[in-house]
């Protein structure tokens, strides 16, 4: 009852304050409206994406009996079906890992036998059950004949859900932190300007909790008043987004309620921080702001008021006099403007990732394990020849076309002395066969060898490495070198060059030069999603090769088994092994290639063999379709590959569900969310400028009155405002221009690391968006100027300028500075 009474009093008191001093709460109404709109948009988009994603998957992966399935076993024979049925029946009820849902029955091409596509649903932890299923039953099934396993996205749906939730939590946390920061900044400005009231409350017994309750209720009212309009607008925006994409939209009631909850949390955090600092000061510090109204405390500054340099020196002085305030204002307003550019950078990254062509299928080839004697081995089976025979619309029979896959497979690992690796994997012959795939965009092949696995490294000029490139820096013979081991050696041929062109990687120089000019390589300029090297065509890098006995390198490898610091390992190698360095000239620089923690050097196949000791072998390739292929055309590609899978028993096809995953990513609309987020932050920056400056100049009106009273001409006050406005505009734009690229880069790196940490995709490399950057500069300059001139224009509009009444609330210099 006492609590209820107390709450009733709080509510009454705060409502009255808001009603009486509505103008000072306008900024909170605007900011909370924007923040709640953002919260609600994120939650509504998440909820709708979640629903549509599940709808997609559920419509896509239904067995004949209508139930959802996780795995499809294609082309099974009667025996395999019976075996799987028996396995299903034999499972103990409580330890059941899968259920056989049913089968599609077709005839074999010869029309003699029945063929079954079996649908399997996993129980419990589906990922784990799938692994158990493979371990227990796949071998038994494969013994009875060939079949193809096709997993569905439902299998990874829960993992995907967890990742989506993590991203949602990350986004919300980011918004809450930034929102709390914005409200805290504005609330601090307000409490500083209206601290008199807090001083009175504190004089009569208000402690921190009491002040907090009073203030937080004001903010709660602001949040409550703006909640409905904000969720309304947010749902409207989301509906428009979904309507454009032709998807069904549902208002998320939970999201709307959660929006209110999160915004209340945000205001609590911000008010807590702001009131904490108010409550720690003695009340007299807050009251004195009023008791000494209209006084300018600095006699030194006052003395020079009417000298000939007025107002120039004063204006400059005021920028210095109120330096703490100026710094705080610039810090607050510019940080939000910088976040705007940072988030637009992220938005662009997500859009680029979305626009990048995605592989539809992955084809893996069975290749025997590498052994030390394999390099000199002679070919004993020619897959290429067989492949050439098989060129047709669809692969021919296995007798004609198969590259003797069964023999190859049996060779792997056991019979190492006579293995010709060049005849395995994705060979030129297979390439010619694959060229017949309908609607094919490109086949991306990759043969990679990490430098570390060869005990090798790269030496490059120190000046080419940017901040964050890592590696070991050493000076030798007056030259500063950088040594790096986080590099992959890759093979490059004309087919790969075509693939790079298809994928739209940025290429400077000529990739063909790698193939035509000996001693020329291509390099990537980034890893971990950001540019780490400042290469130029014609630069020279040195590839290190162990010159002495390999046993020293192997010893280092053994001793460094548990060391994770790559630079420490590299240093150990360099200290204990002798190396010879071969110079290579950079003929091409590749940018925008998605890389993880290593960068790449591309050699011609011959150079690759020289450096690594092995011929290039392409164990797996990725199939890209032409742009704008239809779903039916994609199905044709898959059909073609499935037939190839049955013909060539050394290859297996995996559906990467590109269309579905792209659709899901488009629905997530990270790019849109970050853009929305960025625009909100830019608006908050403008609000911070306006509110802070208006209150600041209202506080200083007594000072200007005094200038007029002691003889300063009216025009000089206008000049004073103008000079201040220009200074704010220049400083605002200048500091923004200098710091925004760095802040954007920092945000990009931070989000990149967090994304990898939560198991997401590597962010596209950092690129400062020029137009938003220029917009940011313009907005900072404009806000600095307008927010300073606006109070002047308002006063002027009120009638005779500077005929203010003696201020009850005007402040003195030190008080403003606090």
């Amino acid at each position: 009852m006492k609590l209820l009474d107390s709450v009733k009093r709080d509510v009454k008191l705060t409502l009255k304050t808001i009603r009486f001093e509505f103008p000072r709460f306008i900024c909170f109404f605007v900011v909370l409206f924007l923040l709640q709109g953002l919260f609600c948009s994120i939650l509504t988009l998440y909820s709708n994406n979640d629903r549509t994603q599940l709808d997609y998957l559920e419509s896509e992966y239904r067995a004949p009996n209508g139930e959802l399935y996780h795995l499809k076993l294609l082309g099974c024979n009667e025996t395999q079906r019976a075996i799987l049925h028996n396995f299903d029946m034999d499972q103990e009820e409580e330890k059941e890992i899968f259920t056989l849902l049913g089968a599609d029955i077709t005839q074999t091409t010869d029309g003699l036998h029945r063929q079954f596509d079996l649908y399997v649903r996993f129980e419990g932890d589906v990922e784990e059950s799938y692994q158990t299923f493979r371990a227990r039953y796949s071998y038994a099934l494969s013994e009875q004949g060939q079949y193809v396993e096709e997993t569905t996205l439902l299998l990874s749906y829960e993992l995907e859900q967890a990742a989506n939730r993590a991203v949602l939590i990350l986004q919300l946390t980011l918004v809450v932190v930034l929102g709390a920061l914005a409200v805290w900044m504005l609330h601090s400005i307000m409490t500083n300007h209206y601290k008199f009231t807090y001083g009175v409350y504190m004089s009569f017994g208000a402690n921190f909790l009491r002040l907090f309750r009073t203030s937080v209720w004001e903010m709660i009212w602001a949040a409550l008043f703006t909640w409905l309009p904000a969720v309304g607008v947010a749902n409207l925006i989301c509906w428009l987004l979904f309507r454009n994409s032709g998807l069904g939209f549902a208002i998320s009631i939970g999201g709307c309620l959660l929006t209110l909850l999160i915004s209340l949390l945000t205001v609590c955090i911000s008010v807590f921080a702001s009131i904490r600092s108010v409550s720690r000061k003695p009340p007299v510090r807050h009251l004195i702001a009023d008791d000494n109204s209209n006084l300018i405390r600095s006699p030194r500054h006052s003395a020079s008021l009417v000298d000939s340099t007025f107002p120039g020196s004063i204006a400059r002085l005021s920028f210095v006099r109120f330096r703490k305030y100026v710094l705080r204002l610039l810090g607050m307003a510019l940080s939000f403007a910088m976040l705007f550019v940072g988030l637009i950078t992220l938005s662009n990254c997500y859009q680029r990732m979305l626009d990048t062509p995605r592989p539809l299928y992955q084809v893996d080839f069975a290749v025997p394990m590498y052994t030390s004697s394999s390099t000199d081995a002679e070919s004993d089976g020619n897959a290429g020849d067989a492949g050439e025979d098989a060129v047709s619309d669809t692969p021919a029979s296995s007798d004609e076309a198969a590259p003797d896959g069964s023999d190859s497979t049996s060779d792997s690992g056991s019979d190492s002395e006579e293995v010709d690796y060049a005849s395995y994997g994705y060979t030129d012959a297979i390439s010619e066969v694959f060229a017949e795939i309908p609607h094919l965009g490109t086949v991306l092949k990759e043969s990679t060898y990490p430098a570390r696995a060869l005990h090798s490294h790269i030496r490059l000029d120190e000046s080419a490495a940017k901040i964050g490139a890592g590696g070991v820096s050493l000076s030798q013979d007056g030259t500063d070198w950088r040594y790096q081991m986080n590099v992959n050696y890759q093979s490059l041929d004309s087919e790969i060059i075509r693939s790079f062109e298809f994928l739209g990687y940025g290429i400077e120089g000529s990739l063909e030069s790698v193939l035509t000019e000996p001693g020329t390589v291509a390099v990537t300029d980034s890893f971990m999603g950001s540019v780490k090297f400042d290469w130029e065509i014609g630069d020279v890098i040195y590839v290190a090769k162990v010159s002495g006995s390999l046993s020293d390198a192997q010893k280092v490898e053994q001793s460094m088994l548990y060391v994770t610091d790559e630079d420490q390992i590299l240093l150990a190698y360099m200290q204990q092994c002798s190396y010879e360095y071969t110079a290579y000239t950079i003929g091409a620089i590749i940018s925008d290639m998605p890389t993880e923690d290593s960068w790449s050097v591309f050699f011609s196949p011959d150079e690759y063999e020289t450096v690594t000791g092995y011929e290039p072998v392409y164990e797996s390739v990725k199939i890209y379709a032409k742009p704008d292929v239809t779903e039916a055309e994609e199905a044709e590609i898959y059909e073609w590959l499935r037939k190839a899978e049955l013909v060539y028993d050394n290859l297996s096809v995996t559906d990467l569900h590109a269309r579905l995953s792209k659709q899901i990513d488009e629905n997530k609309n990270y790019s849109g969310v970050f853009t929305l987020f960025a625009v909100v932050l830019l608006l908050i920056s403008a609000i911070v400028w306006l509110i802070s400056q208006i209150l600041f100049y209202v506080k200083r009106r007594g000072e200007f009155e005094l200038y007029l009273a002691i003889g300063a001409p009216l025009d000089s006050i206008r000049k004073l405002f103008l000079q201040d406005a220009l200074l704010y505009a220049c400083f605002g734009a200048g500091i923004f221009a200098l710091l925004a690229p760095f802040v954007s880069w920092l945000i990009h790196r931070a989000i990149g690391y967090v994304t990898i940490f939560i198991g997401g995709e590597m962010l596209a490399s950092f690129r400062l968006p020029v137009v938003p950057y220029l917009i940011g500069i313009a907005v900072c300059a404009l806000c600095g100027f307008v927010s300073t001139m606006l109070p002047y224009l308002t006063y002027k509009k009120q009638g005779s300028p500077f005929h203010w009444e003696p201020s009850e609330t005007s402040d003195q210099e030190e008080t403003v500075n606090e």
């Binding site: 009255k16 009486f20 001093e21 009175v200 909790l209 409550s279 720690r280 009251l287 030194r300």
Partner: protein
């Protein structure tokens, strides 16, 4: 238990002003008995308001202690000190310091809201205060709609609503004309008597100070006793002051010092 409701020992309060340090309160010690009315007088800038703020716990001394009812308030945390102020002290400011958006009644009730006092604990006092301060017909008005005298009466009612044990008043009639000042002072003294509380008042006005049990003079941050129950110490005060001034004055230079 000590017979003193308030004891201040060796208080020092300094402010930094640009390159110099100003000592507003300089080694001040003071003892106030329960129910006593004490006046502090002095010229502008002598440090009397600063001393009052220190005694009321509105400011912190650089050195020394203030004990009210056995509690050393200089050792209390900001939160506990606020609560203490709400429970034990009341303040009347020279400039009224009413909250502009609240009506007279709401301003009076600010201390009860800040201390979470339930209605029944202050209803009786409120009625008495409204009656004795004659503000019954102005309760629904905002401060801006009240005259200076009425505003100060509201401020007095606000200071007394929680029935404080010590009332601090900083030139409560300084902003009023003589007629209003006399009226407000009378009301304040009557109400104080009715409630039986200790009062420490800063004033310029000797006619007001004369009504106090003790008068202290403040000069350059130092406090001197001027009057108590035994009578005036005018001469003693002047002697003390002269001695202090001589002690602080620069010594005359000898001829050879140049």
């Amino acid at each position: 238990m000590s017979k003193y409701i308030l004891e201040a020992v060796d208080l020092i309060r300094q402010y930094k002003q640009y390159d110099s340090v100003v000592t507003a309160v300089n080694h001040v010690s003071l003892k106030v008995e329960d129910g006593e009315f004490l006046a502090i007088m002095g010229t502008s800038g002598s440090g009397k308001s600063t001393l009052l703020n220190l005694l009321a716990g509105l400011d912190r001394p650089n050195f020394g202690s203030v004990t009210i009812r056995g509690t050393d308030i200089t050792k209390l945390s900001a939160d506990k000190l606020s609560r203490f102020r709400g429970e034990f002290t009341g303040v009347v400011f020279q400039k009224h310091n009413l909250v502009p958006q609240l009506t007279a009644l709401e301003n009076i009730l600010v201390p009860t809201i800040m201390c979470n006092k339930p209605d029944h604990q202050y209803q009786e006092t409120l009625k008495k205060l409204i009656l004795s301060l004659k503000i019954g017909n102005r309760l629904g008005h905002l401060p801006s709609e009240l005259s200076g005298g009425q505003q100060q009466r509201v401020a007095i009612a606000r200071a007394l609503i929680n029935r404080p044990q010590v009332l601090f008043a900083d030139e409560p009639t300084g902003n009023l004309d003589r007629k209003n000042a006399d009226e407000v002072l009378e009301l304040l003294l009557e109400t104080r008597k009715m409630m039986g509380m200790t009062m420490i008042m800063v004033t310029h006005d000797m006619t007001i100070a004369d009504k106090a049990d003790k008068i202290y003079m403040m000069d350059d941050g130092k406090l001197y006793l001027y009057k108590d129950k035994q009578g005036y110490y005018k001469n003693t005060y002047e002697v003390q002051l002269q001695a202090e001034q001589e002690k602080n004055a620069p010594k005359a230079r000898e001829p050879w010092q140049g």
